[in-house]
């Protein structure tokens, strides 16, 4: 029996604009029921990757697929996309947008749309140009979710929203995933990914640096703090291993960021007679900052 193809797939995707490479050799597979959070500094290639997946941009090389096949207009019956900058009409009201969605989206569910308008407290009579940034984001989400899509691709889905509505958005993603839906969302807020996502992808400069199960990543990444009696001995021999990400010195203490460590580093330090060794857990923000600031 063949396993089901990943719901979202990027295979060796490269996207070049003239002489600028926005995405380089990206391979990323997202399985059904998974929420993948995409993190990366501005210009990392997140938006380009999403737009290529959706067929809005043509790959320079490599390929993308949804349910094992390239995206076609029919894909959008069960896939919703919320772009980073809204695609709304300033002169139309909230209610008119919902009406447009009903006419254009075969799976539009009017009662779900009305329910979601209520959740975000949107005024149906208001013209979009009078809405705040957060309200526009909320309306885009209402339209995206009104068809109860099985696949969601969201570029910064909570920008401009206050913390209460940010939490509502995360709950909507969690609700979708617990019904078997698949979600790819980008964010600048590591804490959102840490809560809602089971997988995290970290990009920088068009390259995928990390793709991992969030819990496993947190379980593996540690900081080892070793203190020495007077000055720090030359540890270069002991620390020249793949697991070491970064080494910082502070007085007579050395802080070593490690990945996939099972106590090896601490053992390697023991012969140097440190006065103390402490292993510190790291949250996703620590790991993210480490990964994106790492030298190539």
């Amino acid at each position: 029996m063949n396993p089901a193809p990943p719901v979202i797939a990027f295979d060796n995707l490269t996207k070049r604009y003239r002489n600028f490479e926005a995405v380089h050799d990206l391979t990323l597979h997202i399985q059904a029921g998974s929420i993948c959070g995409l993190l990366g500094p501005n210009g990392a290639g997140k938006t380009t990757a999403m737009k290529t997946l959706l067929g809005f941009l043509r790959p320079t090389s490599g390929s993308t697929a949804v349910d094992g096949a390239p995206v076609t207009p029919q894909t959008f019956e069960y896939l919703s996309y919320v772009p980073e900058t809204d695609a709304l009409f300033g002169e139309l009201t909230v209610a008119q947008h919902v009406e447009l969605n009903r006419l254009s989206q075969p799976r539009h569910d009017e009662s779900r749309a009305q329910e979601l308008l209520g959740v975000f407290g949107l005024d149906r009579r208001k013209r979009v140009r009078k809405l705040s940034k957060g309200q526009k984001t909320a309306l885009a989400l209402v339209l995206a979710l009104a068809s109860k899509p099985r696949v969601l691709v969201l570029d910064e889905p909570s920008s401009g929203l206050d913390p209460v509505f940010q939490r509502v958005v995360l709950d909507l993603l969690i609700d979708a995933a617990s019904e078997g839906g698949t979600v790819l969302f980008s964010s600048h807020q590591v804490g959102q990914v840490e809560r809602a996502a089971d997988h995290v992808a970290i990009m920088r400069g068009g390259r995928l640096l990390v793709y991992s199960d969030v819990d496993s990543l947190k379980g593996q990444e540690k900081i080892i703090e070793a203190t020495f009696p007077s000055s720090i001995p030359d540890l270069n021999g002991a620390l020249r291993v793949d697991a070491v990400r970064r080494i910082d010195h502070a007085g007579n203490m050395v802080r070593i960021s490690v990945r996939k460590d099972d106590g090896e580093i601490a053992q390697r330090l023991a012969p140097y007679n440190p006065t103390s060794i402490r292993v510190v857990d790291r949250n996703l923000e620590d790991i993210f900052l480490d990964v994106v600031s790492e030298k190539n």
């Binding site: 029921g33 998974s34 929420i35 939490r167 995360l170 709950d171 969690i174 609700d175 995933a177 617990s178 019904e179 804490g191 840490e194 809560r195 809602a196 996502a197 089971d198 969030v214 819990d215 496993s216 947190k218 379980g219 540690k222 006065t275 103390s276 060794i277 402490r278 292993v279 510190v280 857990d281 790291r282 949250n283 996703l284 923000e285 620590d286």
Partner: protein, 131 residues
């Protein structure tokens, strides 16, 4: 009244481990009674705003460890197992003691010094008992 869990997603401790620890602690302390129903994966994920697969993973591990049982269509329940509670107490307590000893060792104390501190702490918490 359903059990109330809390998680700290920003902690370096993976969320599924935080959930496992809390369920075990609840069972050990009797706040989760044998036979009691746990929230569904979806309900707990939404209540805590955490990923449903993370909750499912915690439930799977708890089932493997014999703490809960899941019957399809009915939900997950705390197992009716008389000896489990005392075993779970040591399960929950042991990592806490491990942590304390790791800290002491990390500070460079040798085992005799740790033993002396341990005896002192014991007499504070169990006054009147000979150690």
């Amino acid at each position: 009244m359903a059990a109330i869990f809390t998680v700290d997603p920003r902690s370096g401790v993976p969320i599924y481990l935080q959930l496992i620890e809390q369920v075990k602690r609840g069972v050990a302390l009797g706040t989760l009674a044998a036979g009691e129903q746990l929230p569904t994966v979806k309900a707990l994920a939404l209540e805590l705003t955490v990923n449903p697969n993370t909750v499912a993973r915690a439930y799977r591990d708890l089932e493997r460890d014999g703490v809960i049982e899941t019957s399809p269509g009915r939900g997950s329940f705390v197992r009716n197992n008389g000896t489990a509670s005392s075993e779970l107490r040591t399960d929950v307590a042991e990592p806490a003691l491990d942590n304390a000893i790791r800290t002491a060792k990390g500070l460079g104390l040798d085992s005799n010094e740790v033993r002396r501190l341990f005896a002192r702490a014991l007499s504070r918490w169990y006054p009147g008992e000979e150690s």
